[in-house]
Amino acid sequence: MLPADWKADLANPASVDLTLPVLELIRRSTTRLPQDVIEALVAFRNREAEGSRAANTLDTMLENVTLADENVAPLCQDTGTLIFWVRHPFGFSQRVLKQQVRKAVAEATAKSWLRPNCVESLSGRNPGNNMDPFGETHPVVHFEEHEGPGIEISIMQKGGGCENVGAQYRLPDVAIGAGRDLGGVRKCIIDAVTKAQGQGCSPGILGVAIGGDRVTGYERSKEVILRKLGTPNPDPKLDAFERQLTEELNSLGIGPMGYGGLTTVLGVNVSEMWRHPASFYVSISYMCWSSRRMDLVIEPSGNAVYR
């Protein structure tokens, strides 16, 4: 745990060591489900028929949430691909910050808070510490210099099962009859969720990016999952779309773990991007119900706050 008197001197970037607060960020995100996700699970559980397999399954999930927190055990054994977003003020070295993030990841793995999930692609060789030796591909760290005086770090643990059911569509898509408009986007989302069934550990949370290129669309589709469930989309048109989609997807009857039921998704988060006139991508990232994400903020005072 982070010592109570830990403080960063942001006026002196060279002195700032984020290893400990990032380690604590990993400990919390791996063992504690965000409050908004817990509340959504409870709300949807109360809509399922008493004694149904769907209600029992949601109860098991909620029991797991309590146990993981109490035992400081990972909520899910698949602690995922680790994705970090670091936003920092002018003057910080991204190379140094990355070294600190990597050190925290290796230490969290040694403490069994993380499963060693990083393997060499062709041989399957596992270095055992969640780090590719070249510092290029795992953990994933996105950097951005921002205006704010503090440092913000978001983490997402993206499991393999839910990653495998993500999808990217190129509109128009003749096979599903999707044109280049919001109606077409809607068809892509319905198609992706129907194909995912229970393989992505439903009820899932969807991140959708409309537009962009193949890379930036997928990137954005993950980043929008960071938005808390129940917070409105800043674009009123997309906000209404998200609500409608959530309702429609929950009428598919896939249910928790694909056993049938009223709860197939907990929410849909959509973001619109600019695009090349010739390309219209819809990128969909599926997040399992165990949506592990958390923010660490190093305030201008130097204090570390988790939320």
Partner: protein, 194 residues
């Protein structure tokens, strides 16, 4: 809820139907992607007594090594099973396995294999890693740890009252197929609406 204890006889398996909720007790062997490829391509003799009338679990656990060298499971939920579809039926037959635990269900080839071998597909709650690890009473042994890494090694464990739902039985029944059919019909309806 019915208690099932390993070794499981074929007669016990034949009584189970889709939708049954059970509590599993006894020996379970973890295996996933590399393990299944290995089992089918190499058919190692040493694995046969380990898997005889036992249950395979598609799981890559988070483990912790204790000071005395023993292992404990910290988090151990199921991984997606469909990746093992090319191998599963062969594995059931070669090793006389009575069940497979996983999530998401499997396809036609495995369903045929379950019918032929007298085995069931058991579904565990995905993501419930902390809860399921508590039902692991003992880590008996681990094989191929160095070669495969901890998420993919053959962990041999004993479980107590491990909660499962039969979603594919030995008579060709599949809850996954049923749900897929109804959800696909509904998706078609939704897509036709506009």
């Amino acid at each position: 809820m019915k208690k099932i204890i390993t070794p499981i006889s074929e007669a016990v398996i034949r009584e189970l139907k889709v939708g049954d909720e059970i509590l599993l007790n006894g020996k379970v062997v973890l295996s996933r992607d590399i393990g299944h490829k290995f089992m089918v391509e190499k058919k190692p003799e040493w694995l046969k007594p380990i898997l005889e009338e036992a249950v395979i679990y598609h799981c890559g656990p988070v483990v912790a090594r204790q000071a005395d060298g023993s292992w404990t499971f910290v988090s151990a939920g199921p991984t997606t099973s469909i990746r093992e579809e090319p191998y599963q039926a062969d594995v059931l037959e070669t090793y006389n396995v009575r069940g497979v635990i996983g999530k998401g269900g499997m396809g036609k080839k495995t369903s045929d294999g379950l019918r032929k071998a007298g085995a069931c597909y058991f579904h565990a709650t995905g993501g419930a890693g902390a809860l399921l690890a508590e039902r692991v009473k003992r880590v008996v042994d681990v094989k191929m740890l160095e070669e495969f890494g901890s998420p993919e090694a053959f962990w041999i464990i004993e479980v107590e009252d491990f909660p499962l739902v039969v979603t594919m039985d030995s008579h060709g029944g599949s809850l996954h197929e049923e749900v897929a059919n109804t959800s696909q019909a509904r998706a078609k309806e939704l897509m036709a609406a506009r």
